[in-house]
Symmetry: C2
Subunit: 387 residues, 2 copies
């Protein structure tokens, strides 16, 4: 069996100190000891998200936190604008409609990015919008959005800017406060290098004022219960029993991010993104996203290659696990992450593996081209050696 190389946009590899922390014997969570760990985690999350807003920790997947965001800010019968560019941003509309909230869907073809000007127009057409629901890194297509520009449009109105950064936060620049993000939603199993099971919300004062207006269609996900507990007299706590071994692991991964510095983390993802794109293009493949995210790259399979067979072969031959496309994109693209523990050599090796398997499957490639192009980018040289 080949060595495993997990290169998917979540779950992602977890550093050893985090894994060992999660193997420690369980302690009780209603203790000063847990509250100290939790307080450090909240500080670390604020740093990664670049926010002074309240950060809340839910025990759920990212979808649970998306639901929490929607049902707390948008009462039944209210209106939201959904910026739909893939599987995950479409989920905003599905959640909203399930709870009787009107979703004005603005959909672009998958692989395209939302234009900030369209958001401005939609807000003018729908002045009763309570929230605009969008995505930082749409991980089904590899698109990275201009969250800052959209945030500036939304900030001029009473609407809230609610951003799914489940896989994006920590994988690419995200300045929550400066970009006017009112509710940021993040998952543990992506750039935060922790197993799945935790999700986070950063909630602005503007959002809290909206939350205060109604009783939410929520109990487990009632954000006011969470807010009260993080500001508890005895220290920060959670309203329900949290997945506290995962919180202990997260604490270790956050230490690693803080030691590296969040700007360095973003710069690393951005460099690996450029190297990946150079390598992919050197093989003659096409980057799928019109506006690629810095945390991941989606690539269209070349004509004549059976995408599913390719991914199976890549895993069987080299242990490299990439993600395929979802729903309409099934068999059309592959998706590759460059955040978290992924480094330069992982990218070079993955590109080489892709090239080798394409070669085996009869696709015309010149072996070594992708690694060479990526190496030149990593070294700060032009991607194409002939230039």
């Amino acid at each position: 069996m080949p060595k495993r190389r997990l290169m998917t946009p979540g779950p992602t590899q977890v550093p050893e100190p985090a894994r060992l922390a999660m193997a420690r014997q369980v302690i009780h969570h209603r203790t000063p000891e847990f509250r100290a760990v939790f307080a450090e985690v909240l500080l670390g999350l604020k740093y990664v998200f670049q926010t002074e807003n309240d950060v809340l920790v839910l025990t759920s997947s990212g979808t649970g936190a998306m639901e929490a965001a929607v049902v707390n800010v948008a009462p039944r019968g209210s209106k939201v604008i959904v910026l739909e560019s893939g599987v995950f941003s479409r989920r905003w509309a599905q959640i909203s409609e399930r709870f009787g909230i009107q979703a004005v869907r603005h959909a672009v073809p998958w692989g395209q990015a939302i234009e900030p000007a369209d958001v401005e127009r939609l807000l003018a057409e729908h002045p009763d919008t309570v929230a605009v629901l969008g995505t930082l890194m749409e991980s089904s297509t590899g698109v990275g959005h201009d969250v800052q520009a959209i945030g500036e449009m939304v900030a001029k109105t009473d609407a809230l800017w609610v951003v799914d950064a489940i896989s994006g936060a920590g994988a690419m620049q995200c300045l929550t406060d400066r970009w006017h993000i009112d509710v940021l939603v993040v998952g543990s199993q992506k750039a935060l290098m922790t197993p799945p099971g935790l999700a986070f919300l950063a909630v602005s004062d503007k959002a809290w004022r909206q939350v205060e207006r109604a009783t939410p269609q929520a109990f487990y996900f009632d954000l006011k219960f969470h807010r009260d507990k993080i500001h508890g007299a005895a220290g920060s706590d959670t309203p329900w029993t949290p997945a506290h071994t995962l919180i202990a692991g997260l604490g270790e991964s956050l230490k690693q991010i803080r030691a590296e510095g969040i700007e360095a983390v973003w710069a690393n993802s951005a460099l690996l993104a450029r190297a990946t794109r150079a390598g992919v293009q050197a093989m003659g493949l096409e980057v799928f996203a019109a506006r690629p995210a810095e945390g991941m790259t989606a690539v269209r399979f070349p004509a004549g290659i059976d995408g599913k067979a390719f991914l199976k072969r890549l895993e069987a031959r080299f242990g490299v696990k990439l993600a395929g496309g979802q729903l309409e994109l099934d068999g059309q693209i592959f998706r590759l992450a460059h955040f978290g523990l992924v480094d330069e050599l992982d990218i070079i090796a993955t590109l080489a593996a892709i090239e080798l398997v394409l070669d085996e499957m009869g696709h015309a490639v010149t072996l070594g081209t992708a690694a060479a192009a990526a190496s030149r980018v990593i070294q700060g040289k032009p991607a194409d050696a002939d230039k």
Copy 2:
């Protein structure tokens, strides 16, 4: 710092194979490898719960699974009967009311058990009840309920029998199918010896028929999404990214339970319950619950002892962590678990520690009495040596 001895009714100690499984490097969960682990876990849960019904795995605390049970079986405007005997059964009413469901509250004083005859009367008075919401082991008071007798009453009607067995399942006998439990709710961090973060629902065919009648006030917790995924063509799966490292740990703990045999696990809890009660009573203390559960014991502090100071001292001196009382019972009782990894010597040692600290605090005890009484029960001898 003294050796730690976690004796609370959740979280509970996690066996080493489970802890090591959770420290393994993360794998992707949309794989045959994860589905094989998940399928084994579902079989193990069915065995522990003694059910052929669908078992669903949520990534949430037990409260999340309680909400899932309520919102899936009871549409807005419908009526449920809540059997309220403590903090946790009261939560059934809070959740129901939050979602616009009428909760007929039948409350008994804390420490008392619900009488099955009262449930029969309430069902006759409220023939439009869609569900009766109760508790196996009310862990705030230590009461164990006659879930079987209540189930027989409920089974004669169209209502569903929904049981919070979050801490009870695996800690005391629970025959889901034979006792007509339509929705069983269980948490990972109690007798299943896994950290918090997972919750389970066992759903009967009668319950599914009710679930089918309406679209639930739920998305993340929509049980139909979960049902469709566990019966997926490629094998059992989850609709949202699950806390899969916790599932891997749970798999190991379930192996341990299966190796021991569920009847032996229940018998062990029952024996430890009798030993604990004998030891407590030998010290002249009073068991709080009128109908004590087999998985835990709640004990009233003797007059003149400051309960909070006692618990602090017990932990500082011997590392023994017991739970105090909640809300109205704060400072009135302590609570002690005897399920999971807790064994005979843990109980004897804990009773001795309680006795020693009571002695230090000036309460009249004869040192060794509690250990002697518990030892006699463990050995199958009368609790009182003089008899």
